[in-house]
């Protein structure tokens, strides 16, 4: 009986470690490491989307205040098992597109986008995966000095 109790007690710390590891998402950690040396973390968005029906509409939306005279870096990280790549579109409060991480002419998808903000205000941050495909990803917003 003592053997089983001992085994049970030994299992507890292992389980506690497993629980603790869940708090640190590996994709977030990986993405944090790729923001660059001059970048300082500000906030993050975690996106998980299934297969979409439309290729043109961004399905994840959040609002965020951006401040004049600040250089923001949006680092986009896509989980390995995703079908599409995480993409970003930012619009101001009057729905004017400020930036897109996809170059409409060349089709280039950027994983890093810097915005040199000159107008303080509330912006709409949209995310999706390329061609409305399924995927999960993280976007880290940093300030670059």
């Amino acid at each position: 009986m003592k053997k089983y109790l001992l085994g049970f007690l030994l299992l507890w710390p292992a389980l506690a470690i497993l629980c603790g590891q869940n708090q640190n998402d590996p994709l977030v950690s990986r993405c944090l490491q790729s923001t660059g040396p001059a970048a300082k973390y500000l906030k993050d968005f975690r996106i998980q989307l299934g297969q979409g029906t439309s290729q043109n509409l961004f399905r994840y939306k959040a609002n965020m205040s951006l401040w004049k005279n600040t250089r923001y870096r949006f680092t986009l990280c896509t989980a390995d098992n995703s079908k599409g790549r995480l993409i970003l579109n930012i619009q101001d409060d009057t729905n004017n597109v400020v930036l897109s991480s996809v170059d409409g002419k060349t089709g280039t998808v950027y994983n890093y986008v810097d915005l040199i903000c000159n107008k303080s205000g509330i912006y709409q941050i949209f995310f999706d995966f390329t061609e409305g495909q399924s995927g999960s990803g993280v976007s880290i917003v940093s300030m670059v000095q």
Partner: protein, 301 residues
Amino acid sequence: MKGIVAISVLGVLLAVCSCRNNPGESGEFILVNAESFAASVNPGAETVEEIYRNLSSPLEIANLFQVMGVPFSPGYLASSIDANEQTTSFQKALFLGILGADLGYLNMYEKTGTAIELVSSIKKLADGLNVGQYFNFETIKRVSLNKSNIDSLLFLSVDSYSRMDEYLRKNNRSQLSAIMVVGVWLEAQYFSTQVIKQYPNNLLRERIGEQKYFLDDLIKIINPYCDYDREFTAMCGWLKDIASKYENVKIYYTKGEPSSSEKDGRLVVTQTESSMVEMTDEQLARIIEITGIVRNKLISK
């Protein structure tokens, strides 16, 4: 003996299940859009969530100080707060917010060793509100002592506060969440107004003026609780006092198309439209004065 084995296995399974099903503790992806979920739980919560996201971060204020070349000063910190002496939930939540801003300021200046005592106070206040489990105390302490990765420290601190805030809002304690956010904003505003007295600067002056809009949002958050008790009533009054000093501050916008270029594989977009703040020296002086009065009244023993 078989019974003991069964109980042990059951215990292990329960531990695994509770570990996986605790939404506050899990760092895994949320399967539904967090904002939609919040809205479905509490009608109107989406609006509140948006306001929370829009409030200025003390990290951005501290970043601006660094851009200006302002040296670190411990004199700006709310060092008179004693986490053992707070009696009401209002005080605990308010000081949790104020110390959160202080922590952001310390972290941005990489004063991580100094931050340990502050982190312990935050943990005590969070425990006092029963949200201590969402403050990643041990890891933050370890990373602070290590000084190895400031970005991770910033992430852990912001993430802990977001989790505490989210828990409070989703468990019918939104009034405490609101007061915590007021604390964060007020302390960041205090930093700005103290720094500009010593280091006059147009960028910081504009940032202080731009708080006009965010102060309006803050008042929207706290307004439903103005009659909650005497402490909330007083706070509503003080925020309105600050807002009254902003009454004639004006913000203008000019139009322009963004320009973009590629550098080292990064897309760099520069906005050409801009915002401008019109604020007189007298208006600024009154904002500095009222901010100092309110903040110091709140943290005085």
